[in-house]
Symmetry: C2
Subunit: 343 residues, 2 copies
């Protein structure tokens, strides 16, 4: 077993100090990121340029020396690799040419899948040598349900009328799409591991809009399949699941997917998580990203409270969601100090 | 005790048939609503016209004969009654002149409070005589935290950076605002009861963005105060709390606020709710509003499942959130039939 702090914690060991990394730790809140971002025409081109993504991944490590580096990429490179049109307009969300039904699913193609994802693999291969020795390298993908919502809605959504409409009225179509995404996401993650990823995080950012039964079908079941595929081939690589907003369903997710660790959004109560979830999986989380933006004493107090309660078992400090663009970099520096001082 | 079905269920009695009403049961999905809506210049004027709001409240009852009528109004009539500028633009969310700090709070005024809310009271007084004898009349208000987010953000929000910023860095200002809203919301609800409301629902639509400690401060504590105020004066009026998106924190909400009943959003798992919450409060909910829009067999199956599991104790069938505008009225008719057939 690796002796890297992050990996030990994800395997359930109570470690001191508490390892930490921050979702979206590389990105727009850093001036040095904004500088290199300007070198690519658009965000997809940026993600496809290992010279830039390696640098973006390393930037926050130089400032804050997190215990993990995470591949700089986006969950929507997967639909793009399947041949769907994807674009990112400055200041807007992503736009996709929405799938309408089974004919559109049939037109998706896996022929260029790994070729189009080669920049992610190359980024990881370079990072293996570029990151400090004690830093763990995290690969990731969007979970099938979350990626499917973008593919069906054609972008972000508020009510998820189309994606849930498939769940309720075009169930066979959604099953076909989710099966394809489950299969190809597992492939993608296995290739990331082959390229050097030592930990995997599966982001199910929109799991929290699904009622119980749908949650089991579209979030838990695909996650379990991906976990089984990865386990069979790479039993030592810890897998972190992140069913954001799952509420009381975090319990079913942890017990039924088999993930090594689960990432908690900021609304998950700590004592409940320690009691209900931590016996089954290591925990990661869950400082409110707005509290990191706000900073000050409230941030210090809450950071210590989180470490005190969750740090009794396997635990990785993180946010409950990605760093906000307006976050002052000095607040991140202060947070890193607080975590280290907490021991 | 009233022998109205809804009130018996809210007091914890297992009733057959299962009473039901639907959040936003009056509104845009009904052609007859769109017709009368056109008679007012804007939405606030509509809410201030008892001739129109009484009719809007009655429209869904004529079609579907729900067990409850709910005052037609909006949670933002309260900031308006406190003197804040509020407007609703067609097709956009509400706009308010955002509060910036304690000077703006000091400029809020309670002088015209009840005068500005008189149309709500008049609507209720007329409804008492206009609704069928077996129908219960529900009054409502936004919970202090949810109303405060609109007052601070100046409208809807995605990240709640300003409102949470107050919680974290301008705590004294937020306390002052929440105290004022708690006090005046209790006043408003007591006047609604005096005007004929037999049940109260407190909508905390944005409770689900608060981490545990903040949830206790800004959602649970004000709700408890309002419950205590109402209980002291009107002990027989059942109070339904709706901390939408509270996840595992629903448990603390139910145990610590003292509400008679709690409304569940669609993501709350049924068995967990039956076991954890129902011993302490009656339950209301929680069909996915997108499933009502989708209709069909999936809706029928899920409706029966909800009634089977939650109907073992005090239970009112409802949605997990308001009816969506695109919902076909015939789906609502079908839903009403399914609920009645379920017995």
């Amino acid at each position: 077993m690796s002796d890297k702090l992050l990996i030990r914690a994800l395997k359930g060991e109570r470690t001191r100090p508490t390892p930490f990394w921050l979702m979206r730790q590389a990105g727009r809140y850093l001036p040095e990121y904004r500088e290199i971002r300007a070198k690519a025409r658009n965000f997809l081109d940026f993600c496809a340029s290992p010279g830039l993504t390696v640098e973006a991944t390393l930037q926050p490590l130089r400032r804050y020396n997190m215990d993990a580096a995470i591949l700089f990429s986006d969950i929507l490179v997967v639909p793009h690799a399947l041949g769907q049109e994807v674009s990112f307009q400055e200041g807007e969300g992503p736009k996709l040419k929405a799938l309408c039904g089974k004919d559109d699913i049939a037109r998706l193609s896996i022929e260029q899948f790994h070729e189009r994802l080669e920049p992610s693999y190359e980024t990881l291969r370079q990072l293996v040598f570029a990151i400090p020795e004690s830093t763990a390298l995290i690969g990731f993908a969007g979970a099938p349900w979350t990626v499917a919502t973008y593919m069906i809605e054609g972008g972000s959504s508020k009510e998820f009328v189309k994606a849930k409409g498939w769940a309720y009225r075009q169930t066979a179509d959604l099953e076909r799409l989710i099966d394809l995404l489950t299969e190809m996401t597992a492939e993608y993650l296995l290739m990331q591991i082959a390229a050097g990823a030592e930990v995997i995080q599966l982001f199910d950012s929109w799991a929290g809009v699904l009622p119980e039964e749908e949650f089991r079908k579209w979030s838990i079941r695909p996650a379990r399949k991906i976990v089984e595929r990865l386990r069979a081939r790479c039993p030592k690589v810890p897998i972190i699941g992140f069913p954001k907003g799952a509420g009381a369903l975090y319990e079913a997710y942890v017990k039924e997917t088999g993930v090594d660790a689960v990432s908690l959004d900021s609304t998950v109560p700590l004592s409940w998580a320690a009691k209900t979830l931590q016996p089954h999986a290591a925990l990661q989380g869950n400082l409110d990203n707005v509290l990191l933006l706000a900073g000050g004493e409230a941030m210090e107090r809450e950071t210590k409270r989180i470490i005190n309660i969750l740090g009794e078992g396997g635990f990785v400090f993180n946010l409950g969601h990605g760093i906000l663009q307006q976050t002052p970099p000095e607040h991140v520096a202060r947070l890193a100090d607080i975590i280290r001082e907490a021991g």
